[in-house]
């Protein structure tokens, strides 16, 4: 049984629980629409990985920032994104976060401190450093969470950025969501060490491995790392062991893994575990958690209606927004 931190109020717990369901329903809805051909392009779903996004962002202040990845819907939602604008962006509509110009891999919400998803694996490391440098140079006090996957940890940008963040004591927390596969590449075939977090040793920064399907374990570790950074002690590396339930992207037959392995991880469903912990401690009732779940579902349905009713971008917008004035 996972452990609920004492300081979390019932209200806060239910808020986090709702975020978990919003992410799950959002991505399941997107999955459904892709299958039906209602959304085009591609998308990367984080179903099963909700706890690392929610647990990480739960410890942030409003002014803190994140950089996200190609599998970024969960990070957006956990950082307080407007679900309607997210869904509308996937529909390519004018009301979307990027006015239909970005799509799934480029949603950003600068006002909420979300510096953007990224279609380049490993593209966020140095950008997070830059945001951290701004925080330092302007004395703004905010911390930057840099999400990345196990695959990105093999990019050269990982090494360069972690080294730089370390020597400059930048307020950045690097959060590895190790979902066991870089597209089809099993992490055990691509990395010859057990824990990616061990790489922190090369940079002289703290590294920690957590159960990525335990929202509270993630919160505790990222919370410590964020405080470490906020106090001016520099970056940390936190590795969340988790699993993506869906394929890498929309066209993935998942030939590289077994159904048994998938079932093992589904049994470690982060949402179910959170619910059971709250029920066990008698913090919430079955009715209350069910109501939260239904509420999340309604919000996603509303976002779909909002998107469908939203206009397509006018063709005249094609050439705008390339350069700032």
């Amino acid at each position: 049984m996972i452990q609920i931190p004492e300081h979390l109020s019932k209200e806060r717990l239910l808020d986090l629980y709702e975020q978990m369901w919003l992410i799950r329903y959002f991505d399941e809805k997107v999955d459904e629409f892709f299958a039906k051909g209602m959304i085009h392009g591609t998308t990367h779903l984080a179903v099963g990985q909700e706890a690392s996004a929610v647990g990480s962002c739960a410890v942030l202040k409003e002014e803190d920032k994140i950089t996200s990845t190609h599998r970024g819907h969960g990070h957006c939602i956990a950082k307080g994104a407007d679900i309607n604008k997210m869904m509308a962006e996937l529909f390519g509509r004018e009301t979307g976060y990027c006015k239909g110009k970005g799509g799934s891999m480029h949603i950003a919400d600068l006002d909420k401190g979300n510096l953007g998803a990224n279609g380049i694996v490993g593209g966020g490391f140095a950008i997070a450093n830059g945001a951290g440098l701004t925080s330092r140079m302007k004395d703004l006090g905010y911390v930057v969470l840099c999400f990345f996957g196990d695959g990105a940890s093999n990019e050269g940008s990982f090494h360069e950025a972690l080294n730089l963040a370390s020597i400059w004591d930048l307020p950045v927390v690097f959060i590895c969501e190790n979902n066991q596969y870089g597209m089809s590449g099993p992490v055990k075939d691509m990395i010859n060490i057990e824990h990616i977090a061990s790489r922190s040793g090369s940079y002289g920064i703290p590294g920690k491995v957590v159960d990525g399907n335990d929202v509270f374990d993630v919160m505790n570790a990222v919370g410590e790392a964020v405080e470490h950074a906020r106090e001016g002690n520099g970056p940390s590396l936190v590795e969340c062991k988790t699993y993506r339930w869906k394929g890498h992207s929309k066209s993935d037959a998942k030939k590289y893994r077994t159904r048994e392995e998938e079932k093992e991880w589904r049994d470690k469903d982060p949402i179910k575990r959170m619910k059971e912990a709250m029920l066990e401690k008698e913090i919430v009732t079955e009715e209350e958690v069910e109501e939260i779940k239904q509420q999340a579902k309604r919000k996603i349905e509303e976002s779909v209606e909002f998107s469908k009713e939203s206009p397509e971008p006018d063709l005249s917008t094609l050439l705008t927004d390339v350069y700032a004035d």
Binding site: G96, I127, G130, E160, A161, N163
Partner: protein
């Protein structure tokens, strides 16, 4: 007016901007105590300190991305790459991040960064330290590209680049660093996208960039001795490109030679030639458009080989004469 070198002009622009605007800072390899690979930032560490003259590890991918992130969050970073060849290592951040962020985000956010870097051959640094790859970046929507040919332009253009709210690639030229001209002491801005007519003429136009500009001026002087009046146009910025000035010049002269040091194949000269071919200036042409560019080889080490790689003053003179005497030339070569 006093004369200072191109290198001093760049340093003066940087220093004046940094005194003016606290958000401006520099990062790059060996720009601190060492003063930068070519000495541009010499003395700046002493004035501005290590927080604003940020000496970095040899990590072009990280420092370019750090500049993007800092720019996106409110700073105005000026990144120095020691040699423009190393832009290949920074390319992902430049092309996939900096250039696209504003568009991808639907017009929100901006990346006001400058990537300064010396390009070009002529120093014996050979194939990996001598290229002119400006056409690569000029191809990417979202970037601006500047190529000053003299110190007074470099100073004004650099201020404009730093004040611009977009990512700007600012190509300095190694062999121009030691050249001098009259440079005003006060800070001033030369708008990006405004070409400069370096010499007026009526018989032919040479559009030249960077180190080709002084060569074109030399060619024009020699041609004048033979009664051929050549106009030399320096676009100064490739993106945005001042098409109007080039078109008007060609309408006046009826002949166009484009000269750049970069490899001719796929070089920016093709873009300028096409611009004229597509414009109303086409009807004014008295001879086919000509291009001079670098030989299609990696830059060699041997000084004679290296020199032969890029267009010379003589090449320009020959080309202009060929255009001016096109009818005779065609009869002889027809």
């Amino acid at each position: 007016m006093r004369e200072i070198t191109y290198l001093e002009a760049v340093r003066e622009a940087l220093s004046q901007e940094m005194r003016e605007n606290e958000d401006v800072f520099m990062l790059g390899e060996d720009i601190g105590v060492y003063g930068g690979a070519f000495g541009v930032s010499r003395g700046m560490l002493e004035e501005f300190g290590s927080e604003r003259i940020r000496n970095t590890p040899i990590s072009e991918a990280a420092i370019s991305g750090t500049a993007v992130g800092a720019a996106l969050t409110g700073m105005r970073p000026v990144l120095e790459l020691q040699f423009s060849d190393f832009i290949t290592i920074a390319m992902d951040n430049l092309v996939n991040q900096a250039a696209k962020i504003r568009y991808m985000y639907g017009g929100k956010g901006s990346v006001p960064m400058v990537l300064r870097t010396p390009s070009g051959s002529g120093t014996g640094a050979a194939a990996q330290h001598s290229q002119s790859l400006e056409a690569w970046v000029a191809h990417v929507p979202g970037l601006k590209v500047v190529q000053p040919s003299c110190g007074s332009d470099a100073k004004g253009l650099l201020k404009a680049a730093i004040d611009d709210n977009n990512p700007v690639v600012f190509y300095e030229h190694k062999t121009l660093y030691k050249t001098s001209d009259h440079v005003p002491e006060e800070a001033y801005s030369i708008p990006l996208g405004k070409a400069d007519i370096k010499r007026e003429g009526t018989d032919a136009t040479i559009v030249a960039t960077a180190a080709m500009v002084p060569k074109a001026l030399e060619a024009a002087s020699k041609l004048a001795e033979e009664g051929i009046e050549t106009e030399v146009v320096d676009p100064r910025t490739l993106v945005p490109l001042d098409k109007e000035t080039i078109v008007e010049s060609v309408k006046k002269t009826g002949r166009l030679l484009v000269a750049h040091e970069a490899v001719k194949r796929g070089g920016f000269g093709g873009e300028i030639a096409s611009t004229i071919a597509e414009s109303e200036a086409f009807d004014f042409l008295d001879a086919p458009i000509m291009r001079l560019g670098g030989a299609e080889v990696p830059i060699p080490y041997n000084p004679n080989l290296e020199k032969a790689t890029v267009p010379s003053v003589e090449d320009m003179i020959d080309s202009v004469k060929q255009m001016v005497h096109y009818d005779t030339w065609r009869e002889n070569h027809g």
